[in-house]
C-alpha cells in the first residue's frame, strides 16, 4: 500500500497534512513568541516601531513558510543552482548599488524591507551543495576534480560578503558550505590539513583585517583593554547576563538593558536582554528549544530517502547550530564580536526571511520524504 502510494508519487492533500512535522511548527511558534516579548522589552515596554515590525514580519514570513512547505522537494532540487546564481547576483548588486549604514554596505533597498542578500546566500549555498553532492558517486568524492568546484563556489560569495565588509556572515557562510562537504564524506585528512594551514596563516589573515575588526579580536582576548571603547559591549553584556542570576530580574526589569548600556540590543544582543530578564532558567529553556529545533530538522533528514534531502537537512541544522552557537558564545564573551544574529529571535527581516525559507525546504523534505530524486 505504501509502495503504491510512492509509485504514484501523487500524494493526496490529506497525506501531506498528515506528514507535516507539527512539533517543528510548534517550536517555531514558541521561539517566535519569545522573540516578540524580548523585542517588546528592548523598547522599554512600549508597543512601538520594532515590536510592530517584528510581529508583522514574523506573521508574513511564517505564512510564507507554510505555503512554501508544500512545494515539492524535487522542485527545490531542480532550482538549486538557480538559487545560488540569484544569491550571487544579489550580492553583486549590493557591491555596486547597495545602501550603507555605519560603514558597511550590506543591503538592497526594496522599500518595504532592506534586503541583506548575504543572509539569503547561507541557504543558497547549502541547497546548491546538497544538489552537487547528491549527484556525485561516493567513489568520486575524494578526487580533486570534484573538490575544486565546490571550493570555488564557496570562495566567491565569501569574498563578496567580506568586501561589504561583514566578516561574521562570511565565516558563517563558509562554515555552512564546509559542513556539507564534511557530510558528503570527504576524507578527514583534508580537514585536518586545512585546519593546520589556517592556524599557520592566522597572523597573515589578521594583518589584512580592517582596524575595527582587529580591535574586536584584540578586545576579545582582553576586554579591559578599552572598557569604554571596543571592550564596552562585551563587558556590559557579561554584566547584564551575570546579574540576571538563576531566575532573572523579571520581564521588563532588566536594568542593564533598560538603561541603554547595551548597544544593538534588539539585534545581535537580544540574548543578553533575554538572559538578564529571565535568568539561567530562561536561557537554558531557550537553548533547549533550539536543540529541539535542530533535532527535529536532523530527524527529517534521517527519514528522507534522497541524498539531497538528507544533505540539505543536516546542513541546515548545522547552519542553525552555528548561528545559535556563535551568537550566544559571542554575547557570553567566548568569541569575538563578529555580528551574527540569533535565528528567529533577533530583529531583522533578511535573517528571518532566510531562516523561514530554509525551514520551509526542511518541511517540504518531510512532506515528500519518500520521493526519490533521479541523479540526472
Amino acid at each position: 500500500m505504501l509502495r503504491e502510494r510512492i509509485q504514484a508519487s501523487n500524494y493526496s492533500f490529506l497525506d501531506k497534512l498528515r506528514s507535516i512535522d507539527y512539533l517543528l511548527i510548534l517550536l517555531i511558534i514558541a521561539i517566535g513568541s519569545i522573540s516578540v516579548f524580548a523585542i517588546y522589552s528592548t523598547e522599554g515596554g512600549k508597543f512601538s516601531f520594532y515590536t510592530k515590525n517584528h510581529i508583522i514580519r514574523l506573521s508574513i514570513f511564517f505564512s510564507l513558510f507554510l505555503v512554501l512547505s508544500f512545494v515539492r522537494v524535487s522542485t527545490w532540487y531542480k532550482n538549486a543552482y538557480l538559487f545560488y546564481v540569484i544569491g550571487l547576483i544579489l550580492l553583486l548588486i549590493v557591491l555596486f548599488f547597495g545602501i550603507s549604514a555605519s560603514g558597511a554596505t550590506r543591503w538592497i533597498n526594496l522599500y518595504f524591507l532592506n534586503l541583506q542578500p548575504s543572509e539569503l546566500m547561507k541557504i543558497a549555498v547549502i541547497i546548491c551543495f546538497a544538489r552537487y553532492y547528491h549527484r556525485i558517486q561516493s567513489s568520486d568524492i575524494q578526487s580533486y576534480k570534484f573538490l575544486i568546484q565546490p571550493i570555488i563556489l564557496l570562495i566567491i560569495p565569501c569574498y563578496l560578503v567580506m568586501q561589504q565588509p561583514d566578516l561574521g556572515t562570511s565565516i558563517l557562510i563558509a562554515g555552512s558550505g564546509i559542513a556539507i562537504i564534511w557530510l558528503a564524506g570527504l576524507n578527514i585528512k583534508y580537514f585536518v590539513y586545512s585546519g593546520l594551514l589556517l592556524l599557520v596563516s592566522l597572523p597573515f589573515v589578521i594583518s589584512i583585517l580592517k582596524p575595527y575588526q582587529k580591535s574586536r579580536i584584540l578586545t576579545f582576548f582582553n576586554p579591559d583593554r578599552d572598557p569604554l571603547g571596543a571592550g564596552y559591549q562585551i563587558i556590559q553584556s557579561k554584566i547584564a547576563i551575570g546579574s540576571g542570576g538563576f531566575f532573572g530580574k523579571g520581564f521588563l526589569k532588566g536594568t542593564q538593558s533598560y538603561l541603554e548600556f547595551l548597544p544593538e540590543k534588539h539585534t545581535d544582543f537580544i540574548f543578553t536582554l533575554f538572559s538578564e530578564e529571565f535568568g539561567f532558567l530562561g536561557s537554558i529553556i531557550l537553548l533547549f528549544l533550539y536543540i529541539l529545533l535542530i533535532y527535529r530538522i536532523i530527524n527529517v533528514g534521517l527519514v528522507s530517502r534522497s541524498f539531497f534531502a538528507k544533505l540539505y537537512c543536516f546542513g541546515f541544522a548545522t547552519t542553525i547550530f552555528l548561528y545559535v552557537f556563535v551568537n550566544i558564545a559571542m554575547v557570553l564573551g567566548m568569541l569575538p564580536i563578529v555580528g551574527a544574529p540569533l535565528p528567529i529571535m533577533s530583529y531583522g527581516g533578511s535573517s528571518l526571511l532566510s531562516i523561514m525559507l530554509g525551514l520551509s525546504i526542511v518541511m517540504s523534505c518531510k512532506i515528500y520524504n519518500q520521493e526519490q530524486i533521479s541523479v540526472y
Binding site: G44, Q137, S138, S139, A179, W182, L183, A184, G185, Q236, K238, I239, A240, I241, G242, S243, G244, G245, F246, T255, Q256, L259, E260, F261, S275, G279, F280, S283, I284, L287, I291, I294, I298, G301, L302, F307, K310, L311, F314, T318, F321, F325, I328, A329, L332, M334
Partner: protein
C-alpha cells in the same frame, strides 16, 4: 546492482558524519551552558555589584555653531543668548501636574501643550524635554522664582542663531531650523547631533554644515537604580564650530538690497580678477531670524503668498533672457572667429522696413531706426538689426561655444546652493536632443539679441562681464574666502600678460575647458574692441546708458543695457507703443544692466536685473551707477584689508 550498493554506502557515510557533527554540537552547547552557569550562578554576586555600580549615564551637551563673517570680519551670523526651559523627565513624578504648573506660569496655549505631549511620546524616560527654547526674560525669572515647586524643571541659559543683518543676507547665508529626518541622514549632522540642535536649512548654513556644526560635549553622571543623577563624574567640553569667512562686503550688500527695495530683482557684484563675489542681492527678501525657533503660520503665509516670490534666490535661481546684455559677447564671438569686419556697415531702417529672413520679419527696438551702423555703434546704441545679421553669419553653434566659455549655461558656485540653476545656452545639438527638432535660422537670429531659448542667471551675467572686463581670463567665482590661491600673484600675472600671439593649438577656439586664471581669448584686440564699445555705450552721446555716466575718471564705468521681453511683441503692440506703467505687471519687460568699473584699470563687474522693470537704460543702469560709486569708494579699504598693494589707478 553495483550502483545500488554504492548508494547504500553513500547514505551510511552521510549518516555517520552527521552523528559525528551532532556530537560536536552537543559538546559545544554544553560549553555554552557551563559558561551560563558560571556567569549566572557562580559569579552572580560579582556581576550584580558591577551592574549596580555600572549606572553611569551620559548626557550630550550641544555645541555652539561656528560664526559667519564677511570680508572685513564683520559678524553676519552669531550666537545669541536665549533663555530656555528644560524638563528632566526622569525627575518628574507626575508629568501632567508639572505641565499644568508651567502652563500657568509662562502661559502656554492648548496647541503648544498638545505639541509637548507629542514630543514627550518620542523621548526616552530619561531624556530631556525642551519646553521652550526662547523664553522672555520675564518668563524666565518667573520660572526661577517658583523653581522649588516645579519637579524636574531646569532653566537653561543657551544660545541660538542670530542674524544681525536679517533681511539683507538671507539669500546668501541662509538660515537654521530643527533637523528633519532627511537632515539626520547626512553624516556630518548624524555624527554631531544632539536633540534640540539647530541645523542649516539653506545657503552657507546648509552647505558649510561640516565647518559650522562643531562637536558636542559629554557630561557623565552616576545614577542610582531608578536612574536619578547622583554626581557628575566627567565632563568633556563641547567644541564650537569653525568660523566661515565670506568674500561679501556687508556694506555693499546692504546698499544693494536697499536699492532693490520694493522691486523684484537681483544685483551681483564680483571682483573681475579674483572671482570674489562682493555682493549678491536678491529682492524681495525675508527675515531668517523668524525661522530659528520655528516660523509662525502668519509670517510663513505672508512669505509664501508674496507674488514677488521672496523665497527664490533670484541671483542664482532666477532665469532670464539676457537680452541686449548678451550683445558684447555676440560681437566678441564674431570677431574671434573672424566672421565679420567691424567696419562692415548695415542700415537699420526702422519698423517700416524690418530685417527679413524667409518671409519672417525681425524688428529693431527703435521705431525710427538707427540708420547706417558699424559694429562699435551697433553695440553702443544696441541696434538689433546689426546683430540679427551678425548672428546669422556667425551661426548658433560657434556663438554657444563662446557663451559657454565665458560662463553662461553652467552653475557658477558649485554645490554651495542647492537651488542654483544652470541656465541654458542653446545650440543645434541641444535642440535635437532635448526637443527632437532641428534648429531654425530664425532662432539663431533672435539668439543674437539674447532672446529665444537662452536663459541665464544674474550671477552668470556678472561672471560673463567680469571675464570680458579682465581681458578675457577665466576666473573662479567664489563666495567663501579661498586661502589656497595667492590672488596678488594672480592679479599681477593677468595684468602684465601682454601676450597676443595667436594660439596655434588646433581648435583652440572650440575648446570650452580652459583652466582657471588662464587666457580664453584668441586675439586681445577683439576684447579691447568690445570693451571700448561698452565704454561708448555709457560715456558717449547716443549710448544707451549715457544718462547714468560719471565724468570723474575715478568712477567712470562702461556697461551694456538690456531689455528682455517676457512675451512676443505683436504688431498691435507696436502700433499702441505703450509706456511701461500702462502695461500689466506680469507682461512688462525685464530691465537688465551689466557693467564694469572703473573703466581705466577695471576691478569690479556688476549685473542688475529688475523683474518687469521696463527698459534697462531707464531702470537698471541708474541703480548700477549708484552702487558702482559706493563700490569704488570702498575699494581702497578692501585692498588694505586683504593685504594687497595693487591700488586703483
Amino acid at each position: 546492482m553495483l550502483n545500488r550498493g554504492r548508494n547504500i554506502e553513500k547514505g551510511r557515510v552521510i549518516t555517520r558524519r552527521m552523528f559525528i557533527l551532532a556530537a560536536a554540537k552537543i559538546l559545544l552547547f554544553a560549553g555554552i551552558s557551563s559558561r551560563l552557569y558560571n556567569l549566572q550562578i557562580s559569579d552572580r554576586e560579582k556581576y550584580e555589584i558591577l551592574s549596580d555600580k555600572n549606572r553611569i549615564r551620559e548626557w550630550k551637551t550641544p555645541p555652539q555653531r561656528g560664526i559667519i563673517v564677511d570680508n572685513f570680519n564683520k559678524v553676519l551670523a552669531s550666537n545669541d543668548r536665549v533663555f530656555q526651559l528644560h524638563l528632566m523627565l526622569d525627575e518628574i513624578n507626575d508629568f501632567d501636574v508639572t505641565i499644568f504648573k508651567i502652563k500657568n506660569l509662562i502661559g502656554l496655549d492648548q496647541f503648544q501643550i498638545k505639541k509637548l505631549y507629542k514630543k514627550k511620546e518620542r523621548l526616552k524616560p530619561w531624556d530631556t524635554l525642551v519646553v521652550s527654547d526662547n523664553l522672555t526674560w520675564e518668563q524666565f525669572s518667573k520660572i526661577n522664582l517658583y523653581l522649588h515647586e516645579l519637579e524636574g524643571a531646569k532653566p537653561v541659559l543657551s544660545t541660538s542663531r542670530f542674524y544681525p543683518y536679517a533681511n539683507d543676507l538671507v539669500h546668501i547665508v541662509g538660515y537654521v531650523g530643527d533637523a528633519s529626518p532627511k537632515d539626520l541622514e547626512k553624516s556630518e549632522i548624524k555624527e554631531n547631533f544632539v536633540p534640540g540642535l539647530k541645523v542649516g536649512k539653506y545657503g552657507i548654513e546648509n552647505s558649510q554644515e561640516k565647518m559650522l556644526i562643531g562637536n558636542y560635549g559629554i557630561k557623565r553622571y552616576e545614577v542610582n537604580a531608578s536612574g536619578k543623577r547622583i554626581s557628575q563624574i566627567d565632563y568633556i567640553k563641547e567644541r564650537q564650530g569653525n568660523k566661515v569667512s565670506l568674500t561679501i562686503d556687508i556694506e555693499i550688500q546692504k546698499y544693494a538690497q536697499e536699492l532693490l527695495k520694493g522691486k523684484a530683482g537681483s544685483i551681483c557684484v564680483m571682483d573681475i580678477y579674483t572671482g570674489e563675489v562682493v555682493a549678491m542681492a536678491s529682492s524681495p527678501t525675508y527675515d531668517p531670524n523668524k525661522f530659528t525657533h520655528g516660523i509662525n503660520e502668519k509670517d510663513w503665509k505672508e512669505i509664501r503668498n508674496n507674488p514677488l516670490k521672496p523665497l527664490i534666490n533670484k541671483s542664482i535661481a532666477g532665469l532670464y533672457s539676457p537680452g541686449s546684455t548678451f550683445k558684447p559677447l555676440v560681437a566678441l564671438a564674431a570677431l574671434e572667429y573672424g566672421i565679420l569686419d567691424p567696419n562692415k556697415t548695415i542700415r537699420c531702417k526702422g519698423h517700416k522696413h524690418p530685417y527679413e529672413l524667409y518671409g519672417v520679419k525681425y524688428h529693431c527696438w527703435k521705431k525710427e531706426g538707427h540708420g547706417y551702423m558699424k559694429l562699435r555703434n551697433a553695440i553702443k546704441q544696441s541696434c538689433d538689426i546689426y546683430f540679427y545679421e551678425m548672428a546669422r553669419l556667425l551661426g548658433v553653434d560657434k556663438l554657444s561655444i563662446i557663451a559657454k566659455r565665458y560662463g553662461l549655461g553652467t552653475n557658477v558656485l558649485g554645490d554651495l546652493y542647492n537651488d542654483e540653476k544652470n541656465g541654458l545656452v542653446p545650440d543645434t545639438k541641444w535642440k535635437r536632443r532635448a526637443l527632437e527638432q532641428s534648429w531654425y535660422l530664425g532662432e539663431t537670429v533672435i539668439n543674437g539679441i539674447g532672446q529665444g531659448y537662452i536663459q541665464t542667471t544674474p550671477l552668470q551675467l556678472c561672471l560673463m562681464t567680469a571675464q570680458i572686463a579682465n581681458g578675457g581670463y577665466k576666473i573662479k567665482p567664489h563666495i567663501i574666502k579661498d586661502d589656497t590661491i595667492n590672488f596678488k600673484n594672480v592679479i599681477n600675472k593677468i595684468k602684465l600678460d601682454e601676450s597676443n600671439f595667436p594660439l596655434h593649438e588646433r581648435n583652440y577656439l572650440d575648446d570650452i575647458n580652459v583652466k582657471y586664471y588662464q587666457r580664453m581669448y584668441h586675439n586681445k584686440s577683439n576684447i579691447n574692441f568690445v570693451l571700448d564699445a561698452m565704454f561708448g555705450s555709457t560715456n558717449e552721446q547716443y549710448g544707451t546708458s549715457y544718462r547714468s555716466r560719471y565724468d570723474n575718471p575715478k568712477y567712470q564705468f562702461a556697461g551694456k543695457t538690456g531689455t528682455s521681453q517676457v512675451r512676443r511683441i505683436t504688431d498691435l503692440d507696436r502700433v499702441l507703443d505703450l509706456d511701461t506703467d500702462q502695461i500689466e505687471y506680469k507682461k512688462r519687460d525685464h530691465a537688465l544692466y551689466v557693467a564694469f568699473a572703473p573703466y581705466k584699470d577695471p576691478r569690479y563687474a556688476i549685473s542688475v536685473i529688475i523683474e518687469h522693470g521696463g527698459s534697462g537704460s531707464k531702470v537698471a543702469a541708474p541703480l548700477a551707477s549708484k552702487l558702482i560709486k559706493r563700490i569704488i569708494d570702498r575699494h581702497k579699504l578692501r585692498e588694505q584689508f586683504n593685504n594687497g598693494n595693487t591700488s586703483l589707478a
